[in-house]
């Protein structure tokens, strides 16, 4: 039981950044914009958060700046894919390529002179787990209540996002824009504006996910810190069927894979480290393939927004 609880603690910690980014990308994709720049935005969010906290010691400022920088990258993608009607796959890829490059550059540039301007190996303020007295002894449940503030915030964001999407006026419009922009436009929605807004919102949440990596999960900066998490997020969005509440399961699954992987590594198994590290990537391919094959028979429930990835203009006939 204790093992399960400790595994669960790590699972939730590892899953937090994934879930933030997944919910962010769900907002974006629900509006019909496919943003493959998650990896790059997450990386920029991570380096921004850490460098700001390193320089100022202000954790909240770190979060805000991470959201802003990541949001700015999302706006670049929005401009290219909405206003300039560029290919969304390539535009997202370029955000990732540029974002990872810039993050790597900044990571080697924003550190102290004594460390050759590098941020690697530096330490700064970080978010620590806050336990709730009394409840922290209860097995399983205590895992949920032994987390940092960013994870706690997620307990609110998930239900709010679900409610927003399915029960509010704005959620209704958002779903319509991603599913059938022509209709949404004829019913008076400004499709481009809505797409800009949710691409931005999505980018900011992705930035928060990145910030959680450097400020809480593995405090500190390291080259390539996201390690493909941004891409796993894209897969998680598909697994969730574009539904924020279902995204929780995917994040827990992949957080869990991380947790087990660490546990096994620490315990010193015979399995080579390379194979353990492969697990999340292989799992993504396998789960994605299985999901795609299974969901073909059940259209509707797991279907992607119909207009995902295509540009829209009123004057087009």
């Amino acid at each position: 039981m204790e093992l399960i609880t400790t595994l669960l603690i790590v699972t939730l910690r590892a899953g937090t950044s994934l879930l933030y980014a997944t919910i962010g990308e769900i907002y974006t994709e629900r509006s019909g914009i496919l943003n493959l720049g998650v990896e790059g935005m997450m990386m920029l969010g991570a380096v921004t958060a850490f460098s700001v906290v390193y320089a100022t010691g202000n954790l909240i400022l770190g979060l805000i700046m991470a959201m802003l920088v990541s949001g700015l990258m999302a706006l670049v993608h929005a401009f290219l894919s909405i206003t300039m009607r560029a290919n969304q796959v390539v535009s997202g890829l370029s955000v990732t390529l540029f974002g990872t490059g810039l993050a790597s550059y900044l990571g080697q540039r924003l550190g102290p002179e004594s460390n050759g301007f590098s941020l690697s190996g530096m330490s700064a303020e970080k978010f620590t787990a806050i336990t709730i007295p009394g409840l922290s002894e209860v097995p399983i449940l205590s895992a949920f209540l032994n987390q940092d503030i960013i994870t706690y915030l997620l307990y609110l964001i998930v239900p709010i996002s679900w409610y927003f999407l399915y029960r509010t006026k704005h959620g209704l419009t958002l779903r319509a824009v991603g599913e059938n922009p022509k209709t949404a436009s004829a019913m008076g929605s400004n499709v481009s504006k809505i797409r800009y807004i949710y691409t931005l919102v999505g980018g900011m949440l992705v930035g928060l996910g990145g910030a959680h990596l450097t400020l809480a999960y593995t405090p500190g900066w390291a080259e390539n810190i996201t390690g493909g998490r941004g891409w796993i997020v894209i897969a998680l969005v598909i697994f969730s069927g574009w539904n924020p509440s279902r995204a929780v399961f995917g994040a827990i699954l992949f957080g869990g894979i991380n947790a087990v992987q660490f546990r096994l590594q620490a315990a010193g198994t015979n399995i080579p480290a390379s194979f353990l590290n492969m697990a999340p990537y292989l799992a993504t391919v396998v789960v994605l393939a299985v999901m795609t094959i299974l969901s073909r028979k059940k259209r509707g429930k797991f279907a992607s927004p119909s207009a995902l990835g295509s540009s829209f203009s009123i004057e087009d006939k």
């Binding site: 493959l36 670049v76 401009f79 290219l80 300039m84 009607r85 560029a86 290919n87 796959v89 390539v90 535009s91 890829l93 370029s94 390529l97 540029f98 974002g99 990872t100 490059g101 810039l102 790597s104 550059y105 080697q108 540039r109 050759g116 301007f117 390690g227 493909g228 891409w231 894209i234 897969a235 598909i238 080579p272 390379s274 194979f275 590290n277 492969m278 990537y281 292989l282 993504t284 391919v285 994605l288 393939a289 795609t292 094959i293 073909r296």
Partner: protein, 356 residues
């Protein structure tokens, strides 16, 4: 007054050439701001980068060393993109090319050493093709999203290579260095100057063949149809599934060839650091060259220049070499923004009195 985008009456070929050239300028301009922000002189930085990459013959040969794998992976990605198959797995396919080649070079003792090179080439290409075949089959048969599968398989390939050179293939006399034994010297791909090697010829030949196949053959015609309208191609009796699998395996084979050239001519062993992101730069090359194989050669050279230039400014000015990668990434933004002008043009509309 407002600006509107208006559809052109015909495709503008002038713009297809102009936009990439302007993009280079714009990316350098935005890069200048990043440099200013880092308190260095952008102009001096660019001059150092240029001299470092193209300033002398020896510098140029180093640029060529990086350009060769970029050309081949760039070609590989271009072919896949022609089908609108977003193969971002060139990195993994390249790594598998290296693994396949190393396997032949190190363990195929039953064939004479001089034969190792051609056999290594074939097995390297086959390994790249096979690795690309996995997402290709998943996509063609079950419509599994290829961006994710190709990318995820990069990590798997890199980690598998890591397992090999840290584990069973590690050179016992390597003093703990993560890498295999060197290949037999007769099996090295020859160099013609400095470290620049005949892989260049492979890349040029591959580009010419590819250009011919894509623009002058039945198969190329079918690839064009599928890429531009899969539904229409199907109506005309083109076999889509088979073509996706074949073309993507060709794409993987080209990246595998890049992996072969890298280990057979440059490192002469499979070792840590084999994966340096060529497969990702290849995406930029493919898009900048507008999927034209001949143009890809030149764009690859430019990209290699940025990488070598980035290394130079690290040595000369203490700036992170990642600046080269930043500039590469920056290239795509103006390019994407500009691509709309091949089919659209800007029109200025002056509103009438009442509307203001």
């Amino acid at each position: 007054m407002r600006l509107v985008l208006e559809k052109r009456e015909a495709h503008s070929y002038k713009m297809t050439v102009l936009v990439p050239i302007i993009s280079v300028g714009v990316s350098l301009l935005i890069g200048a701001f990043v440099l200013l922000f880092s308190h260095v002189n952008p102009l001096a930085t660019y001059v150092y980068m240029f001299i470092g990459a193209f300033g002398s013959w020896s510098a140029f040969t180093e640029t060529l060393v990086k350009a060769i794998p970029l050309m081949l992976t760039g070609l590989g990605v271009s072919v896949a993109f022609r089908l609108r198959f977003w193969n971002i797995g060139a990195e993994g396919q390249y790594v598998w090319g290296a693994i396949g080649t190393a396997w032949v070079m190190l363990y195929w003792n039953f064939i004479p050493n001089p034969m190792l090179l051609p056999v290594g080439l074939l097995i390297g290409m086959a390994a790249g093709a096979g690795w690309a075949g996995i997402p290709a089959v998943l996509k063609a048969v079950w419509k599994v999203d290829e961006t994710l599968t190709t990318l995820m398989l990069n990590y798997v390939a890199i980690l598998f290579a890591e397992f090999l050179y840290y584990g069973p293939w590690r050179d016992p006399e390597g003093y703990g260095f993560p890498g295999t034994k060197p290949f037999p010297e007769e099996a090295w791909l020859p160099r013609f100057s400095g470290r620049a090697h005949w892989g260049l010829l492979l890349a040029v030949v591959a580009a010419v063949i590819l250009w011919f196949v894509l623009s002058r053959t039945k198969w190329g015609f079918e690839i064009q149809m599928i890429g531009k309208s899969p539904k229409a191609a199907r109506c005309q009796g083109v076999n889509i599934k088979r073509n996706i699998i074949l073309v993507i395996m060709l794409s993987g084979a080209l990246s595998g060839l890049a992996g072969f050239a890298e280990v057979a001519a440059v490192s002469h062993r499979l070792q840590k650091g084999i994966a340096t992101g060529y497969g990702y730069t290849a995406i930029i090359i493919a898009w900048m060259s507008q999927l034209n194989p001949i143009a890809a050669l030149f764009v690859a050279l430019l990209m290699a220049g940025l990488l070598v230039g980035g290394d130079q400014i690290q040595m000369m000015m203490g700036l992170p070499a990642a600046m080269g990668v930043v500039l590469q990434g920056l290239l795509l933004f103006p390019l994407l923004a500009g691509s709309i002008f091949t089919d659209y043009h800007l029109r200025i509309i002056r509103n009438k009195g009442g509307d203001a």
